[in-house]
């Protein structure tokens, strides 16, 4: 989308021009011709920035009012102090069970990356096959329908049984839970490739490889990336639960550890960190998806 918006006004002005006229037109485009700087629209700026700020302020105000006289639940100020201390040294190491929050987050991200990466490696090609061939679709769809709604934690014992170790079991759980959105979205995308494009493929008698790379893949890309986005979201949801059960270094384990220490301020910090990282992952993939939009 971004590129489309960038290109169309420039190229529209070139329409119908002959090539000799085109060269100078191009060069003025290529030169860093600074567009007249539009004055900053402050009213629009506040209209966008103010509401979210008010939202956060309200949350903190309600939280502060509710915890004013509480002895167990920390106030916003206490959590802020704890956070300042925590983020001052996020990468310390005092033995396997006491490491900085940075290490915890990175360890969780590594597990998510591994589990999700494997899921993508298996799920996307499988989605293509299921979407392309009706037989495979009929064969796989009851299995998918059956396995998809299973809670992540139900898969964990299977992983522990097979891998006999906590870390691979957590990765396995991520894998099995994040494979479905990618697989299903890819398959749906393949099935929804416009008939026009498939007719083109048939009329040109393209090989199955050319069909896959030139027609299916670009056409499916938006669906696929939606699947990837959902999968990463799921993976990040699942990791906290999985790590609570398996232990080791990771944000989920950290939450559980702090609960055992009755350090509620740290749990609240963890919640914000988990939310923030999730947001970051989502944003990353959304901006990636935008590169594949063509109108």
């Amino acid at each position: 989308m971004v590129s489309a918006v960038f290109h169309s006004p420039l190229d529209a002005s070139l329409d119908g021009n002959d090539s000799p006229q085109r060269a100078p037109a191009r060069s003025t485009v290529a030169a860093p011709a600074r567009p007249p700087r539009t004055p900053v629209d402050w009213r629009e700026f506040w209209r966008r920035v103010l509401p979210p700020l008010i939202g956060f302020a309200l949350l903190i105000a309600v939280w502060g009012a509710a915890t004013q006289n509480s002895t167990t639940f920390p106030t916003p100020a206490k959590v802020f102090d704890a956070a300042a201390k925590l983020f001052a040294d996020p990468f310390y190491r005092n033995g396997p069970n006491d490491q900085g929050i940075g290490w915890n987050v990175l360890n969780s991200l590594e597990r998510v990356g591994l589990g999700f990466g494997l899921a993508a490696l298996v799920g996307i090609p499988l989605g293509f096959v299921i979407g392309r061939f009706a037989f495979m679709h009929r064969m796989a769809s009851p299995l998918i329908s059956l396995l998809k709604p299973v809670s992540p934690l139900a898969w964990l014992p299977i992983g522990l049984l097979v891998f006999k170790s906590a870390n691979p079991a957590a990765i396995w759980t991520i894998f099995i839970c994040s494979i479905w959105p990618m697989l299903i979205n890819t398959a749906v995308g393949v099935q929804r490739v416009p008939q026009d494009y498939l007719n083109v493929a048939r009329v040109l008698a393209l090989s199955e490889w050319k069909i896959a790379t030139r027609i299916l893949l670009p056409s499916v890309m938006p669906y696929l990336l939606t699947g990837v986005r959902l999968s990463v979201g799921t993976a990040w949801l699942v990791i906290v639960a999985a790590e609570m059960l398996t232990g080791g270094v990771g944000i989920g384990f950290w939450v559980w550890d702090e609960w055992n220490n009755l350090n509620v301020a740290h749990i609240i910090i963890a919640i914000f960190v988990i939310g923030f990282v999730g947001l970051l992952l989502e944003w990353l993939l959304t901006s990636l998806a935008k590169r594949f939009e063509y109108a």
Binding site: D11, S19, V200, R202, A205
Partner: protein
């Protein structure tokens, strides 16, 4: 235009029945038509008369339930690059540039025998033929509807097909763009000697472009009603033809068929 050698395309007793939930639907019955090399044939009829169905049969996108289609004495089985198809909605791939859209077709046909550079030259030459050299690198959404259809024509022509099959290629364009593209199509056909089958519902387009106009009866169970031979000298000029008595006569013939003799067939049947 009358030629006496063997027909290039031979449609013999072709019928097409689609299975539907309410039982079989007969779209076409007993269609027989021969086309000579270099001939321009327009299929005209009211919507739903099966003219696109017939074109799809020739394209090989569907298989007839009765009869045979022969192209150069070989039975048509499925689509192939010997028949270039121009779709009504252009059907260019939006993620490829104009050049790459054409290259896709060129690579398929000549990829095994020619170098990358030769393929490129071939694609560019065809785009030049349709007057689109200025937009090689543009994506389809960056060019106008008329330009898209030019690229669509280039894609079909670039394969050097035996036949060009056009399914209402200018139907979605405004009248002025359509006229311009019709004129250019006439030029292209004159230079390449292409054999063209074109589906249209535009009487003027049919008379202006065709050597023969195949008029189809209304569906269901549509078939060829009449075939009109258009004996107008080429090159044809739309402005001069507008007052030509033969042109007016041919036009009247088609209109007569469409609106007098075959308007209410559905209700009668």
């Amino acid at each position: 235009m009358a030629r006496h050698d063997k027909p290039m395309l031979s449609i013999a007793g072709v019928g097409m029945t689609f299975p539907t939930k309410r039982g079989p639907f007969v779209a076409l019955r007993d269609v027989s038509l021969d086309m000579q090399r270099g001939e321009f044939v327009a299929l005209i009829g009211h919507s739903g008369c099966g003219k696109s169905t017939l074109l799809n049969l020739v394209a090989g996108l569907t298989t007839p339930t009765a009869g045979h289609l022969l192209l150069d004495d070989r039975e048509l089985k499925g689509p192939g690059p010997d028949r270039g198809v121009v779709f009504q909605n252009h059907s260019l791939l939006p993620w490829l540039s104009c050049l790459d859209n054409v290259l896709l077709a060129v690579e398929r046909v000549f990829g095994a025998t020619e170098s990358k550079e030769q393929l490129r030259q071939r694609a560019m030459a065809t785009l030049e033929l349709v007057g689109m050299s200025h937009a090689l690198a543009k994506r389809p959404h960056e060019i106008s509807g008329g330009m898209k259809q030019r690229v669509g024509i280039a894609r079909a022509l670039a394969m050097q097909p035996k036949m060009l099959l056009m399914d209402e290629p200018f139907g979605a364009l405004d009248a002025l763009t359509r006229a311009k593209l019709q004129d250019e199509l006439m030029k292209i056909v004159a230079t390449t000697g292409a054999t063209v089958m074109m589906v249209t519902h535009d009487v003027d387009e049919a008379v202006l472009l065709s050597d023969r106009i195949v008029m189809m009866t209304n569906g269901p169970a549509a078939t060829i009603g009449e075939v009109l031979r258009v004996d107008l000298p080429r090159p044809r000029n739309r402005v001069e033809l507008a007052e030509d008595s033969r042109y007016v006569h041919y036009r009247k013939e088609v209109i007569d068929f469409l609106y007098t003799r075959h308007q209410h067939v559905e209700k009668v049947a």
